[in-house]
């Protein structure tokens, strides 16, 4: 596993304010074909919301997605990556922190997201797995 985080990350991450609703984030995930929304304030990363967070922290708790704000459910104190980090470092973080997605930060500004799928694809570019679209339905 060689290469840098910038080579495998999904760039142009979806960023939203903490005051936005969970419904708005879900619509953005659908329209942009992603599973992660970065929560930002003044261009700086405050936290992250994934489709799993919405499932567990909103639906499982019977909260209303239209009135629940991202600020109510986001994960803060995230492990983050830099674009120039080695992919190997990203894989170690994913494993050690037992997370599926990590934000990528350059000069304090979010510039991408690395997912466990990106790492699986990178592991062997000629493997069968690399032919599964990273954007394939998650089923």
């Amino acid at each position: 596993m060689t290469g840098k985080v910038r080579d495998i990350m999904s760039a142009a991450p979806v960023c939203m304010a903490a005051t936005e609703s969970v419904s708005a984030a879900a619509k953005a995930m659908k329209e942009r074909g992603v599973g992660t929304v970065l929560v930002v304030s003044g261009g700086r990363l405050e936290g992250m919301v994934t489709e799993r967070d919405i499932t567990i922290r909103v639906l499982a708790e019977n909260r209303d997605p239209a009135t629940t704000r991202l600020g109510d459910i986001y994960t803060s104190e995230l492990a983050v990556l830099r674009p120039e980090d080695d992919v190997q470092h990203a894989a170690r973080l994913v494993r050690d922190r037992a997370v599926r997605r990590l934000p990528v930060i350059a000069d304090g500004v979010p510039v991408g997201v690395v997912s466990i799928g990106d790492l699986a694809l990178d592991r062997d570019e000629r493997s069968a797995l690399s032919e599964i679209p990273a954007t394939a339905p998650d089923r």
Binding site: M29, E51, I54, L59, A60, V94, A120, P137, R139
Partner: protein, 124 residues
Amino acid sequence: MDAKVRDVMTPGPIGVDYHQSIGTAARTMRDWGVGAVLVVSDQALYGLVTDRDLVVRAVAESKGPDEPVGPLSSRDLVGVRADDDAAVAVALMREHAVRRLPVIEDGQVAGIVSLGDLAPPDES
């Protein structure tokens, strides 16, 4: 990759009824620590629903947690046998562009195998 599907799958199987609520499906995923559950209708396998399905097919469409989960299911599932090589599961995922397969043993669903089960990130 010499492992069999049964060696890497998440055994279970964990399921919900078609008529149970979206909230119940979400709590089932939370309580079992899984990202997908099978959907059963009239004691037969109807489909599969993932945490992403709950978000993009329910929350994004303004469906509430009290509505039935069944209509959110993905149908026409592709299955794999428990005694197949893990490489067979990889090939099926590639061919059908899916990330999870129900695992069949003795005519019953024995579990689910996911892309993450087959390709855990490592340092190689």
